[in-house]
């Protein structure tokens, strides 16, 4: 449905990284306010995949556990949304495909097989 390659889940920090009180974005996260343009492989995040566009406010390689949890949830929700939309469309597609199959069969019964795309030029009798 979408090109979701840029919203891959990439938070892989563990509890051992939790340190209340660590300054925001320790290890080179944003300090200028705007979100960082490109993600560089973060030392604190296993599974980071090189350069990827970040969402607003997404820290590059936060070592704060609550932040890591936050971004896991954000990307879980985003991927769940896109997957649900894909499933909904897939259900719709299946239904329409079944109806198309039905009407093609009826057509064949009445007038013989229809070639692909032929219906576009055919007028109802």
């Amino acid at each position: 449905l979408f090109d979701s390659s840029h919203i891959k889940k990439r938070a892989g920090g563990g509890r051992e990284n939790h340190a209340q009180g660590s300054a925001i974005g320790g290890g080179g996260a944003e300090v200028s306010g705007r979100h960082v343009q490109r993600l560089t492989t973060g030392s604190g995040l296993s599974g980071s995949s090189g350069t990827e566009r970040l969402l607003p406010g997404e820290p590059v390689d936060s070592d704060q556990f609550d932040e890591v949890q936050h971004w896991v949830i954000v990307y879980e929700e985003l991927t769940a949304f896109v997957r649900q939309a894909e499933r909904d469309l897939s259900q719709m597609l299946n239904r329409y495909a079944r109806r198309l199959e039905h009407w093609r069969r009826r057509h064949d019964e009445l007038a013989g097989p229809l070639r692909a795309g032929e219906h576009r030029n055919r007028r109802p009798r």
Partner: protein
């Protein structure tokens, strides 16, 4: 009954802290944070990176007990801040008191961002009206913000801390006024506007429109905006009615306005934590994560949403 640090009370306390420059900020907030830390109270400070540095230096070893957040990241879109406080308060609900500092209003914010930051400050009073032992202080820099912004702080905070003392704000909006449908008019955009009527997500058509309008924008950010539009269309838009989509560029950002949406009854929709499983709140929550700014205006019978994505 006051809590141990002498700052937090039994109820939610939401105050504006007017300060004059960084030194004044540190000299006034530092001792408060030190007292709370010494009393074993959880402290979350969401300010800019420069002041985090200064305050950390002031606090020394105590700074390790403070949760620091760069407000310019998490709070760029002010609608993402209430979920942060919700989570903090929920996680420490058994504590004797919790202390927060949040500075979502800063000099250099775009006008649309300032409007939403003000709305955020008003909504805090609604969101935490039942919270217990939560003190939230919102710093405003009088040296860099204009008078109108400072004046508005009095509308959103029940009390204000001045350099010379503290006082109740008689202008603060009541909960009923905050909870009423927020229908402040949005300024009409200038420049070229492209328009489309969509039903459902209409991903293909939306994509094409965004490419036409924001051809220079990073593809990933256009996709984020496409996803946000789809989320709002699916979760907020009525199943039958078409949504009018207008797209334009504004100060380098790509802005998409969706009108003809179903009204949104919950003033806190999109600011929940965790994300709601369905409904308008879900669509707005997703849009808030994807966009640099989300503006919701609603009346009794319809809603308008503007989504801003920066390059």
């Amino acid at each position: 009954m006051s809590s141990r640090n002498g700052i937090s009370g039994e109820d939610f306390r939401h105050e504006a802290l007017l300060y004059a420059g960084a030194d004044d900020f540190v000299s006034r907030t530092g001792p408060m944070i030190a007292r709370a830390v010494d009393a074993g109270e959880p402290v979350l400070v969401a300010i800019d990176a420069t002041k985090i540095e200064l305050l950390s230096r002031y606090l020394g070893a105590r700074s390790r007990s403070v949760i620091w957040k760069d407000i310019r990241g998490i709070g760029g879109n002010p609608a993402r801040i209430i979920p942060l406080w919700h989570r903090f308060v929920t996680e420490h609900r058994s504590s004797g008191g919790v202390l927060g500092f949040g500075e979502p209003v800063w000099s250099g914010r775009k006008p649309a961002e300032l409007v939403e930051a003000q709305r955020h400050e008003e909504l805090l009073n609604l969101a935490f009206r039942d919270a217990r032992r939560f003190t939230l202080l919102c710093p405003y820099d009088m040296m860099s913000l204009n008078g109108e912004v400072i004046e508005k702080a009095h509308l959103s905070h029940p009390a204000v801390m001045y350099p010379t003392g503290e006082g109740a704000s008689s202008h603060c909006l009541g909960i009923d006024a905050v909870a009423a449908p927020f229908d402040l008019p949005l300024p009409e955009p200038g420049g070229r506007i492209r328009e489309l009527t969509i039903r459902g997500a209409a991903v293909g058509a939306v994509r094409r429109l965004l490419v036409e309008c924001g051809s220079r924008m990073d593809c990933a950010r256009r996709e984020d905006l496409t996803a946000a539009i789809a989320a709002v269309a699916i979760c907020v838009g009525g199943p039958m009615a078409g949504t009018r989509l207008r797209v334009w560029q504004e100060s380098g950002a790509l802005v998409a306005e969706m009108s003809g949406l179903a009204p949104v009854d919950d003033p806190l929709a999109g600011r929940e934590w965790p994300a709601p499983p369905e409904g308008a709140g879900r669509g707005l929550w997703l849009a808030n994560q994807l966009c640099d700014l989300v503006q919701l205006r609603t009346t009794a019978d319809r809603a308008v949403v503007r989504l801003h994505v920066s390059p």
